[in-house]
Structures are given as structure tokens and as C-alpha cells.
Symmetry: C2
Subunit: 163 residues, 2 copies
DNA sequence: TATTGTTATACTCTATAACTATA
DNA sequence: TATAGTTATAGAGTATAACAATA
């Protein structure tokens, strides 16, 4: 089922004519298509949020804090799959921009509890609208709500490959 | 539809109890699930190919050269979305490992034509088997061939978001 | 002038080790 | 002893600019 000619030694190389590269062996792979789709979707996301100077990870962190006000850095970081050590600069940046505040935890003087500021809440409300427009562009490509649900379910199944 | 309590000032912070972080606002997003699925699938891929010291990008490059022997660095790199400048070290490494050779192109003395060596062909044949096992694990999660085809089609549609 | 391969460089992400202060 | 936050650092991956040789 393979059997293509073996060109090696000094056989006259067939030069690159340009774009006629056959990637069919890759485009049939779930992992390859998954990566290309993720890059395309993230490109759209990044362009949409560029005016707000917000990256996908930052949107995820703000949204997690919004849904879980008062949770510790460690808890939020872990839930998002971010190392505690890498999380520090993310929160530093948010505090510098007055979007998030660290507050001491009553019963545990080691931990920082995270909250959105009023400005952070207002900013995130705008970001949610940008996200809605982004998701609408995705929905236009993948079909109706039934198709979208089926896709999310398949992606969630793949996520269980973890570990 | 929002209306969660606004905790700010010095309100007693609800400490991080641990893992009960609500990410439902993120898990409903295609982009978020796409990224998590891609990470999970790549983790499996990377672990599978670790004994061969091959990363996903390297497998893609070798497979592209196999399907397009004699194509130039620029052509292969562009087809895979890799910058020419970043492609150089990739090919350097393959030449060091005797898996790929650069050969001069007859009509264009600027270009390098890429070929797998005999060793490279043998190695890649083994890698294809590792990939088949990896894809089989994916198939076990996503269903039959019909489900797999539907998923690939949806991912390809998302890829058209590019540009 | 444009293209191929190359070098150098920088910036983001991610991973690890070690420190401190608390528990 | 273990955990939360922090710092420093190293390694991928990716992006741009510039150069020499060639077209």
C-alpha cells in the first residue's frame, strides 16, 4: 500500500515548483486537524481581543475569578492548568491594570484571595461581548446548536485522554 | 442574568477550599475545549513518540518529506506553517541523525531539495505504526468511522477561520 | 527586484528548583 | 512535614530583521 519510488543518492531532485505539497497523510489525523483548528480559532480570538490587550489565557483567568471570587491563586491556577509559579506574573499584571486585587485570607495567612475590582468587572462585561461575537463566528461555521453541542462533547471526550 | 454578589473592599474573603472551582463559563466555549482537547491529544502523542525522540512537528515534517520527496525547504516549511528561518534547525537535526538529506536542485542553485535517507524511511515506517496506535486510542474515545469523519469535517471548517 | 537558505535575536509559554512564611 | 506565594532560570515555539547567493 506504500510503494512510492525511492529517490536517494544523486538522482536528479524534483525541484519545488511551489505549493503543490501533498499533506493528505497529515490532514487525515485528528491531532493534526485539532491543532490547525485550535490555531485558527485562537488567531480569531487574539485579533478580536487585541484592542483590549487581552490574551486567551488572561480571559480565562478573569472569567475564573469572576465565577469564583475569593478563591486562592493556587486554586484558580490549578483549575486552569497553570503552574503557580507562572501565575504570579499574570496576577501582577492584572493588579497593575487595576482589574484584580489580592486580599489576605482570614484563616490562612499564606494565601491570597483573588477578586475582580469594579473596573475589572466592567471590563470583563465588555470582554464577554467580544467573546459572544467570536463564538457567533464559530457557530456560523459549525452549524446549529445541535452540531455545536456534538462538537463540544467530542472535544470533551478527547480531553479525557489526559493522564 | 448575572447578578452575583459583589465582594470587594475588605469583605471577609472566602478562602480557597480546594478544587471546587466553577469553570462552566469556559467549558461551554469551543475555543477553550478545543485547546484542552489539543493539549490532551498532544500529550498522548508526545508520550507515544518519546522513545523515538520525535515531537509532533518533527513527525509532520518527516511525513511531508516522505509524501513530497525532492521538494524544497521553503515549500515544505510553508505547507506546514513553519517559518523558513525556524525550519533550518529542524532539518539540521534530521541531517545530524541521518534521517534526511539536503541535495542541490538542478535548475536552482539557491534551493535545497529534501529527501528521506533509507534509514529515515525505515524509521518513519516505525513511527507510522506508533501513530496508528495513537489514532486508535483517539478512535476509541470518539466513536466509529462516521463519528471520526464528522469530527474531522468540523475541525476543517474551523480551520477556514484562518486569515 | 525577488527568492532561498541562513543567522541572530526577541518574545511568549511552559517547566523545574529553590526560597520564605506560614500551616 | 506540607502548602502558598514567589523568584530565578531554562527550554520549547514562534516572530522579525538582515545578510549572501542566486534568480
Amino acid at each position: 500500500m506504500k510503494g512510492e519510488a525511492i529517490l536517494e543518492e544523486e538522482a536528479a531532485p524534483r525541484a519545488a515548483d511551489g505549493q503543490e505539497i501533498d499533506l493528505s497523510k497529515l490532514t487525515d489525523l485528528v491531532g493534526y486537524q485539532l491543532r490547525r483548528a485550535q490555531i485558527a480559532v485562537f488567531d480569531d480570538f487574539i485579533r478580536s481581543f487585541a484592542p483590549y490587550d487581552i490574551r486567551p489565557t488572561q480571559y480565562g483567568v478573569l472569567t475564573a475569578i469572576e465565577s469564583n471570587p475569593g478563591s486562592s491563586q493556587a486554586a484558580i491556577a490549578q483549575s486552569l492548568g497553570i503552574k503557580r509559579s507562572n501565575f504570579v506574573k499574570l496576577i501582577d499584571e492584572f493588579e497593575r491594570r487595576k482589574l484584580v486585587v489580592r486580599k489576605p485570607v482570614a484563616g490562612d495567612r499564606r494565601a491570597n484571595a483573588l477578586f475582580l475590582t469594579k473596573a475589572g468587572q466592567a471590563e470583563l462585561a465588555e470582554l464577554h461581548q467580544v467573546r459572544a461575537a467570536h463564538e457567533a463566528r464559530i457557530a456560523a461555521l459549525i452549524g446549529d446548536e445541535r452540531d455545536r453541542g456534538a462538537l463540544l462533547k467530542q472535544l470533551q471526550r478527547l480531553t479525557t485522554m489526559r493522564g
